[in-house]
């Protein structure tokens, strides 16, 4: 500690590197700001909507943040969030605590999504049934050779348990949609804090199997064709196969508002469900709502 200045020098250099403050800042009077928080699955979609909508309506400001479906709904309950994005339906206990705070959450379906099951590109396995996927993620199948692959251990990747994708996958795939089934994810399952964490590990680890929203699957991961039963048909997740219902793991995506939306928020939600808003859904790899609904 005899040379404290020498130790501080690199720190000072770092501070000196700070970019200048962006000019202007508040160049117009405070516009209406919509706080839009929630599901990480939806965050890119919500950002794309917000950007397009703000160029169409410069008087509206939309702040989009991820964090998970639970985070968004918790914010809605606390009154800090105007629109909560959720990749699952609101839980009964969340609705209760919202009503205890004098808030009635209103549900809006805004797009559809498929969950893709992904593996390393070098993995020879390219098709699995729902039951096999369930057995893999609950820890009953632990080696790739049991499902027609190489003799390698299976490394399970999942989103953290606060993610709507995690809950949906548990209910619809691990438990095969059976509400009496109490199977859990295997304790060996790696819980990754982000979608990026899953794709990074799937890209570099030939043992890995993971799942994530279709919009997050990059070309350097291999998508598995999934069948409802052993007889097939094995279907890859695409916009077509989700729309005609042949791909078995798909779901609705939601936005929740505190009470019936009014004013700016109602306009925004109406625009999201319009053909123009739904066109962006398709561009980001999600599945658009049928417009005639």
């Amino acid at each position: 500690m005899r040379r404290p200045f020498l130790a501080l020098l690199p720190l000072l250099l770092l501070v000196a590197c700070r970019p200048p403050e962006p000019g202007g800042g508040a160049d117009q009077p405070l516009a209406t700001a919509i706080q839009n928080v929630g599901s990480d699955t939806i965050v890119n979609l919500a950002l794309a909507w917000a950007e397009t909508y703000q160029t169409l309506h410069p008087e509206v400001r939309i702040a989009v943040t991820g964090g998970g479906s639970g985070t968004g709904i918790a914010g809605l309950i606390n009154g800090t969030v105007d629109i909560a994005n959720a990749s699952r339906k609101i839980k009964p206990e969340e609705r209760e605590s919202a009503e205890a705070n004098g808030i009635t959450p209103v549900e809006h379906v805004i797009a559809r999504d498929a969950i893709a099951v992904v593996v390393h590109p070098s993995n020879p396995v390219d098709r699995l049934t729902l039951r096999q996927i369930s057995d893999i993620f609950s820890g009953r199948i632990t080696n790739w050779s049991e499902v027609g692959g190489e003799d390698r251990p299976i490394v399970l990747l999942s989103r953290e348990s606060n993610s709507g994708t995690h809950v949906y996958f548990l209910e619809q795939v691990v438990r095969l949609g059976d509400s009496d089934n109490t199977t859990l994810f295997s304790p060996e399952t790696l819980l990754m804090p982000s979608s990026e964490g899953i794709s990074a590990e799937v890209r570099q680890n030939p043992n890995a199997i993971g799942y994530d929203g279709l919009g997050y699957v990059t070309p350097d991961q291999k998508t598995i064709a999934v069948a409802r039963g052993p007889g097939g048909p094995f279907v890859l997740p695409t916009v077509e196969s989700v729309n005609d219902g042949t791909y078995p793991i798909s779901r609705d995506l939601y936005m929740y508002t505190a009470g019936e939306p009014a004013g700016v928020i109602a306009d925004y939600l109406a625009w999201i469900r319009s053909p123009e808003g739904q066109r962006i859904v398709g561009e980001l790899g999600f599945v658009p709502l049928r417009i005639d609904q």
């Binding site: 040379r3 998970g68 390698r152 490394v155 953290e160 606060n162 060996e188 790696l190």
Partner: protein, 302 residues
């Protein structure tokens, strides 16, 4: 005139003294308040769920499975691994810097080691994710590179600067006359270092180690990024090459969206309480060893 001047001086002095005493008491007060807050928020967990359930081996809060055992053991495993790497390495580095290295090298090394302590843990976590985890998977044949070992290596790296810096200060504080006496009695330099200097600085070195371990067990971000966060019981022989979930990573990952006042919320605070007690214990041991050293010096001088 002189009397008044002295009176003023005395007033300033007594004011300063009181100020310092107040700050000291305030720090202790904050510590007690944090502890009370943790008990207030986390204590309910022990009433809401029977203690037997907290000691279960399954952590899955979505379905009210609140076994914190895998988390506690996960933290201990990763920290023990980090200690095994960083303690010997830290001590040897400190000995080198303080006793062996020439003066100019020491003047360069010391500040650089201290700068290492300032690298943000996210940066180290990212480094561990892209650089160390593929190495662990390929060369140690682990199913995945996100393992307890990867976490231990990252934590060892983070604890090292603390250990080296504090241990080096302790070695530096050993009076010159000790070394001179040993050399005069015919001891070699090696004997002087291991039989005289290091034992004389023993308590300071122990403090350095305790602080390093304290840093390792409380670290969150880097651990969350590289250990895989699987809440498995790390009891098998290959546990170092398997993922683990630590207490800190669990709190960080789950506190964000937990409903306030729910059982899950209380259990997360209870985990915080456990963590607080463990670090407090480690610091207590460190403080006690300093205290003991002072007493010993007192005896030597009298």
């Amino acid at each position: 005139m002189r009397e008044r001047g002295r009176g003023k001086e005395r007033a300033v002095e007594s004011f300063t003294e009181r100020l310092i005493r107040a700050t000291g008491i305030l720090v202790i007060l904050f510590l007690v308040l944090i502890f009370l807050f943790l008990i207030q928020e986390g204590g309910a967990a022990f009433l809401e769920i029977p203690p037997g359930e907290l000691l279960q081996t399954r952590w899955y809060p979505n379905e009210a499975r609140f076994g914190i055992l895998p988390l506690v053991l996960g933290s201990l495993l990763v920290t023990a691994g980090a200690a095994m790497v960083s303690l010997p390495l830290g001590l040897l580095t400190a000995v080198f810097v303080a006793e062996v290295a020439p003066r100019w090298m020491r003047e360069v090394l010391k500040p650089f080691i201290e700068v290492l302590a300032g690298i943000p843990s996210v940066v180290l976590g990212f480094l561990g994710m892209v650089a160390i985890s593929p190495l662990v998977r390929e060369f140690l044949d682990a199913p995945t590179g996100l393992t307890a070992l990867t976490g231990s290596v990252m934590l060892a790296y983070m604890a090292l600067p603390t250990i080296v810096s504090v241990a080096e200060d302790a070695l530096d504080a050993v009076p010159r006359s000790y070394r001179d006496a040993a050399l005069a009695l015919g001891a070699t330099r090696w004997q002087t270092i291991w039989r005289v200097t290091v034992p004389a600085a023993r308590s300071g070195i122990l403090t350095a180690m305790m602080l390093g371990i304290g840093r390792a067990i409380g670290e969150t971000m880097a651990v969350m990024m590289v250990t895989g966060n699987a809440a498995r019981m790390p009891l098998t022989a290959d546990s170092f090459l398997r993922p683990v979930r630590t207490m800190t990573a669990t709190i960080a990952a789950e506190m964000g969206e937990v409903a306030r006042g729910s059982t899950h919320y209380h259990v997360l605070f209870a985990i915080g309480l456990v963590l607080f007690l463990v670090t407090f214990l480690i610091n207590l041991i460190a403080a006690w060893s300093i205290f003991r050293q002072r007493r010993r010096h007192g005896r030597l001088l009298s």
